[in-house]
């Protein structure tokens, strides 16, 4: 089974720019438990969720393996028309680190699943903590 985020692709530009991240569902056995996989793009500079890309019921996907792909860069446009860009840094999927933009994972049935694409602001945003580089210590 394959799901794309059609709703996002038909809305405003700044949301469409984020919608390049897709949630692809590979169907398998039916799962009786009901749970969701929430896919979000998060700003590492302030931990704010820039956009919730998808809230997908795991039950409808049969609890099969899922694949998420993050674009290398996304952009947002403020109300004043200023574009801010963000670079992909890593995925945090159910507290597991993934550094590749595309991740396949087995969701936990009957539980909440979280797939967070973490981005760092590259420019354009007011008050961006722009630095030459950003080093993140990842703890779990």
């Amino acid at each position: 089974m394959k799901t794309t985020i059609n709703r996002l692709l038909t809305t405003q530009f700044h949301k469409a720019a984020l919608a390049a991240a897709l949630l692809l569902l590979a169907g398998a056995e039916l799962c009786r438990a009901s749970s969701n996989v929430t896919v979000t793009a998060q700003n590492l500079a302030n931990s704010q969720v820039m956009y919730t890309l998808e809230i997908n019921p795991v039950a409808s996907s049969g609890c099969g393996e899922q694949s998420v792909t993050a674009p290398s860069e996304i952009s947002t446009v403020s109300k004043t028309g200023v574009a801010a860009t963000y670079g992909f840094q890593f995925w945090d999927v159910n507290a597991q680190l993934h550094t590749n933009p595309t991740v396949k994972f087995q969701p936990a049935c009957g539980a909440a699943n979280s797939a967070v694409a973490v981005y760092w602001p590259l420019g354009g945003c007011a008050g961006c903590p722009l630095r030459r580089r950003t080093a993140s210590s990842l703890t779990r």
Binding site: L44, S47, V118, S137, L138, T139
Partner: protein, 78 residues
Amino acid sequence: MRRLPPATTDSVIAYSLNDYMVIAGSTPIASASSGWTAGSTSVTPPATIEALPKLPPYGEFKGWDVLFKPYTTDSSLL
């Protein structure tokens, strides 16, 4: 008289995979070869920084991820 450009600094952040968020108010740096003040999350390069092995109550150091650079589990980062 010629003025030098302002020093460029690096941001160093602690991120909790379990909590899906930046650990605010904490530096993950235990020590640095230069360009760092204890407790700060900014480093003036070039410098080698050493990660804190533990950041209670969030957990243990897992690795460094630098934007557009390969991920490393080495506690030292240049």
